[in-house]
Symmetry: C2
Subunit: 332 residues, 2 copies
């Protein structure tokens, strides 16, 4: 199977490294970063491309760009891992639509197009008979999409509750454990590289709300958008609130919740007993799915990271490879 990779940030590099280390029968025939691209239908040396990028800051020819890769390269699956733009979904949205139009499958970690144009993308994909897989958009390394599609097949999903933002969870953990103020904990998150220079998207709850939109669209085939989510961030939380929570053997977590039966689509700080499965520490993510048969199933794992996100991308690629080959996962 041949893949073209758009984006050579942390995720793109992680995917390249893992494809280089593991013998999965997947060849890379094109890569693009924001300023250059390299296309070679015979396959690109992953070690070379990582070295060149590291040294020069470019992955290839500066007269080529991501759209050239989409239109001209020889590939089965487009791996779209450029940075997320949550407002327009661009340029990823254009990349993905162009690739679908050409009959290619898509694997992406890009929350922009998936959250903004879910039904458009899915209907285009159905029309062209291609797959769009986006395990990496929600929960990092947690295989939430696979678990719900396959592991809990036959179940009706009644509600989803999640800790979907590692930055906020780190800040809340530090405020509770060390009695830090919000500002102190945010500063520490920045120093550790967990928070962006502008942490607005995280601390105001927008990032987890985008992920909630993706989950809601997927599982209830709705057409909700970010504007439909009732959002409260953690940026006004006092450490006094956390101290009061502790007195009740509780703590506070930023919970994204979707309960279609009650019309709830919300991100807000919630009081939870410290033994609650969603009370995870540091930058971990956690997702509880409430179902009609299996009851509540919780998944906990790393919500971000280069190799962790690559795990989700590779899981999607292998799923598509199995479909191409008409094979199925082994039982033993």
């Amino acid at each position: 199977m041949k893949v073209a990779i758009l984006g050579m940030g942390s995720v793109g590099k992680g995917v390249l490294r893992m494809l280089g280390e593991k013998d999965l029968g997947i060849d890379v025939t094109a890569v693009a970063d924001s300023k250059s691209a390299l296309i070679d239908k015979n396959g690109i040396s992953i070690a070379d491309i990582l070295r060149v990028k590291q040294k020069s800051g470019f992955c290839g020819d500066r007269s080529l760009g991501a759209l050239d890769v989409v239109k001209k390269a020889d590939y089965d699956v487009l791996v779209e891992v450029t940075p997320t733009n949550a407002i327009t979904g661009e340029p990823a949205l254009t990349h993905i639509l162009e690739a679908i139009d050409r009959g290619h499958d898509i694997v992406t970690s890009n929350k922009g197009p998936i959250s903004r144009e879910f039904s458009l993308l899915m209907s285009k994909a159905r029309e062209k008979g291609v797959q769009i897989r986006y395990e990496a958009t929600v929960g990092g390394a947690i295989p939430i999409m696979h678990t719900l599609d396959q592991g809990l097949a036959g179940n009706r999903i009644l509600a989803i509750f999640g800790v979907l933002n590692g930055t906020c969870n780190f800040i809340l953990t530090r405020m509770a454990d060390e009695g830090l103020t919000y500002e102190q904990a945010l500063l520490e998150a920045r120093e550790m590289g967990y928070a962006e220079a502008d942490p607005t998207y995280d601390v105001k709850g927008i990032d987890p709300a985008i992920k909630l939109v993706i989950l809601a669209n997927k599982f209830w085939k709705e057409t909700v958008r970010l504007e439909d989510v009732d959002i409260t961030g953690i940026n006004k939380l006092t450490n006094n609130a956390l101290r009061l929570a502790e007195e009740q053997h509780c703590t506070i977590r930023l919970i994204a919740e979707a309960i279609p039966g009650r019309g709830i689509l919300r991100v807000a700080p919630r009081l939870l007993p410290i033994t609650h499965p969603l009370v995870v520490e540091g930058t971990l993510n956690a997702i509880t799915i409430e179902t009609d048969m299996a009851g509540e199933i919780t998944l906990i794992g790393k919500g971000a990271g280069s190799v962790e996100t690559a795990s989700a991308i590779l899981g999607d690629l292998l799923c598509i490879r199995d479909i191409h080959e008409g094979s199925h996962p082994e039982t033993a």
Copy 2:
């Protein structure tokens, strides 16, 4: 797709109820309990069979048995949910081998044959080109097998740690929360219906060890047996030990662990920080998988129950149905 169901205890009844409630395109053409059987190639009325069983204690003709179903009924998949015999694996082992020999797929919750004769069963299944699925043997409603096969595809599994016995976890939770002695907590577990009259298999750690054997055989293609597991139960734990744990903000859980790289295959009470993801309450189960890319992924859910186990069985049946139909899980 046509299924024959062997076993009409809690699991068998749960599977029948769920197949009756959900329109999954799965017909039941035979059922057997320990004393009788019913075969009808045109499909059995699920409501009728549950009513008859409830009223008479028999599901059908007393001159027929489970082996008659295996040999004479018209079915694609055998659902083997008779009680587990961990020593011999019988009579389930014979049922499953006979069905494989006739070219049928297998879905089972029966730990006996899967833990005792893993490699025999898998090689027979490969030989005949049939599927054996056994999601329900470990972790109840937790879709551990699906998650590892598909969700974490591409990852190397480095270790597995699990709370795999709900009875022990209930006892430990009550000892810690209420300061009960082991004997008091066991009595309570019996009164609540969580422990058998003879709780040896649970409290001595044999049941979680059997589940660990299944996981180890599956993920490392080893041929380990129950005798290879180093087992310590909870039956000698004092509430003094739990009190000392609490003083260190820890608690005790019965942990099953397999770390092939270090030759560890063990079930034993372990000290864990109360915020550790494996510290779950009551009869919950929890499994942490350590992988090379995704890091640690933890799954938490109900480890037992009629409908919860049916969820695992139905997930396996739908997976086989998809394979029969050559279809694949939708991405949207």
